[in-house]
Amino acid sequence: MKTTQAPLLEMTDIDKAFPGVQALSKAQLTLRAGTVHSLMGENGAGKSTLMKCLFGIYNKDAGEIRMDGKKVDFRDPRDALDNGVAMVHQELNQVLRRNVMENIWLGRVPLKRGLVDTDKMYRETKAIFDELQMDIDPRAIIGSLSVSNRQMIEIAKAVSFNARILVLDEPTSSLTEKEVTHLFQIIRHLTQRGVGIIYISHKMDEILRISDDVTIMRDGMWIATRQAKELTTAEIIRLMVNREMTQRFPPKTNTPGGVALEVKNLCGKHEPTFKDVSFTLRKGEILGVSGLVGSRRTELLNTLFGFYAKESGDILLNGQPVDNSQPDKATRNGFSLLTEERRATGIFPQANITFNSIIANVRSYGKLLLDSKKMNSDTDWVIDAINVKTPSKRTLIRSLSGGNQQKVIIGRWLLTAPEVLLLDEPTRGIDVGAKYEIYSLILKLAGEGKSVIMVSSEMPELIGICDRILVMSNGRMAGIVERGKDFGDIPGEQETILTLAAMYV
């Protein structure tokens, strides 16, 4: 490994304060060319803030950034990009209605005699895709592609800028195992070309698999930088949370009771969708929903809640048919839905914590005039009971970290005292400590007799906390596996589920 010359990127003693919070305090990061450097820490540890300081989205209060030993100070992400520093965000910002190549060359379309040179754009896009072994049509409309393809396109875009430093923020959160392998191939290909990669993720196994170096942050401070081969999952967790974490999952405490929900031959209406899904869900039971990307798990949840239209089939709650044709009806029927896309369908960014907490429950604060006292005390409850880290309840939700936003939305639903909780990727993009809290919360809710359906791409967490797992495959139900029989300390459990998931692919 090349260690003699100046590091590709060196960030030293970075400070950044926001009113009331010291977000970064002497943070540092040193990236060597041709390596993958993982950046780890709980939500709010300062990883994103550090990256935003690098890209000039925030002005740092103090500290120095050097590239190849030369001091740099990027004005904005575009300036960084022009200097070979690119970032692929967890939440993709793409022009959904335009095609792939226009997105890649956005802002710098090649011209010929003053007009757009479409042929050149196509050729160069295709060349990059070929190099990265990506099979995507440069003329496809971005919005019609899967999230994983869209993510790959962002990486290709960085490559097209000849980026020498590439920051990947939670790149695998919506990818299947196969896609992750492909992504890692691309990453290795890039490091061989000398690109330095800053990899932000919460997934321990991936980090240990792909990284050369790992930097751990806590409370805005640099804690440690180690070589990945010297580290173990337990060690990383200890450094991140400063406490030993003996188990990743809390003990199972819920005991399922009588049948609460029955779903019979449910079919979604608008393609792409699923058909013929039937299952029962008992009181106090946690039913996992597993499947590959594109298996229509999210569509199933959204249709149960009336957010997507239903073609046919029945939904019975406690033996009575319920009309969940619209989300407001479903809410009244005791259902709640935590959506996968927090920013698009979860938070009200311009509003404060109070508003975000009470909005689903607004009909319980009085017929004509709303009871402010009760709304305030309910918000306090959300903040205390679910441990939301916020300066005050009047803070705008968009200034909280992703994990804390997620907690507020879970709290929003708990206020409505739902009978059936539909959770779509409840721990997506959330750090280990907060994940554990959310698992405990889900188990506690089930223990109180609530029925939970939980979609997740992380098989260990489904195996860790679910009673049964419904496996979807290509829009159809492939089967339901049971704890104690098919999984839960049973050898080959993951293979059983994966085999089902691949049944109709």
Partner: protein, 343 residues
């Protein structure tokens, strides 16, 4: 030390951003009162408030639509139609060329008021239906309905017995007393319309801040998809906000007829600009989900104060247009800065 200073500086900048509009506009008013000290006479102030009232009521209505991330271009024409219907129903029964010759006694005022509201509500509900059900952009549907309202209003006015399109005038005394009268307190005459405006503003404050509809309205304006997932009935919320806007436009039309005393086809022309400007100056954000009733009231008053003072010191009317345009541009420029997430 250094740290405290930068924080303080940030706070000062924030303060100016937040109140910049008010500061600039107050500066204009102070300048005017220095040039002409008699500007600050009570009579002038009441006059400003009186002129601000009908447009203020329109602004109260359309502010909700702007919070929903929409707008309303039909305000002026719809209110004009409402005012014409009001006028036809309140003409003095001794006036020979009245709209309804068969009318021989004054109608109870509730009749023209309800008729005026009904007209405005009908148009508002069409707009609301287009936005909520047909998913049209508010700009487009209201662009259409303002033409429809204008055409319908012209037909209505033309249908008078004389067969001409002359303005409807000569109203009965009760109407004038109630809609355009004054509350006399000693030597001070407070225009009733000002009290109506403030009363309606108070009601709207309660609707926005203390009711379920208010919360739902901010939810739909802030993030429609998230609102739907949170169990908000989006269609119903939008329809109700439009319904309320219609009621307010109807009331404004009723009062405006009394204020101008003669309603023609062009009554209300361009009022939407004033109503929307008042909202924008008052901090209702065009990106949706943000705004306060206090802001709208202050916006309406300040806007009228500017108009009045420019007239008062005799600024060329063409310059007045330019200045008013600049104020709107400035208001939006500042408003946008408030929500840019740059740190």
């Amino acid at each position: 030390m250094q740290h405290a200073k930068t924080l303080n500086k940030q706070r000062v900048v924030d303060f100016f951003l937040h109140y910049a509009m008010y500061i600039i506009l107050l500066a204009i008013l102070v300048t005017v009162s220095i040039i002409k000290p008699n500007f600050l006479a009570l009579g002038n102030i009441l006059n400003i408030l009186k002129q601000a009232s009908t447009k203020g009521i329109l602004a109260l209505g359309c502010a909700g639509l702007i919070v929903l991330a929409g707008t309303d271009l039909s305000i002026g024409r719809v209110m004009g139609f409402s005012a014409a219907v009001t006028a036809a129903l309140v003409q003095s029964v001794t006036y020979r060329s009245r709209y309804f010759p068969e009318m021989v006694a004054d109608l109870p005022l509730i009749v023209p008021l309800l008729a005026s509201i009904a007209v405005a509500v009908a148009f508002s509900l069409i707009n609301g239906f287009g936005v909520s059900k047909l998913k049209m952009h508010a700009f487009i549907i209201t662009l259409g309905t303002q033409l429809i309202a204008f055409g319908a209003n012209c037909l209505f006015i033309e249908a008078q017995p004389s067969g001409t399109a002359q303005a409807l005038s000569t109203f009965n005394q009760t109407f004038k007393d109630v809609a355009a009268g004054d509350l006399i307190l000693g030597t001070v005459k407070i225009p009733l319309v000002v009290l109506y405006f403030l009363g309606l503003a108070a009601i709207m404050w309660v609707v926005w801040n203390k009711t379920r509809l208010g919360k739902n309205m901010f939810a739909v304006g802030g993030n429609e998809e998230a609102a739907r997932v949170s169990g908000v009935n989006v269609v119903k919320t939008i329809m109700l906000v439009y319904l309320i806007a219609g009621v307010l436009y109807g009331i404004a039309g009723f009062l405006e007829a009394a204020r101008i005393q003669s309603v023609g086809a062009n009554t209300g022309l361009g009022y939407e600009t004033d109503a929307i400007s008042a909202c924008v100056i008052g901090g209702v954000s065009f990106s949706g989900g943000v705004g306060t009733i206090q802001g709208v009231v202050i916006g309406a008053v300040i806007l009228q104060a500017i108009n009045f003072s420019l007239n008062f010191i005799g600024v060329n009317p063409y310059y007045q247009y330019i200045i008013r345009g600049l104020i709107i541009v400035l208001a939006v420029a500042i408003d946008v800065r408030k929500y840019i997430v740059k740190k």
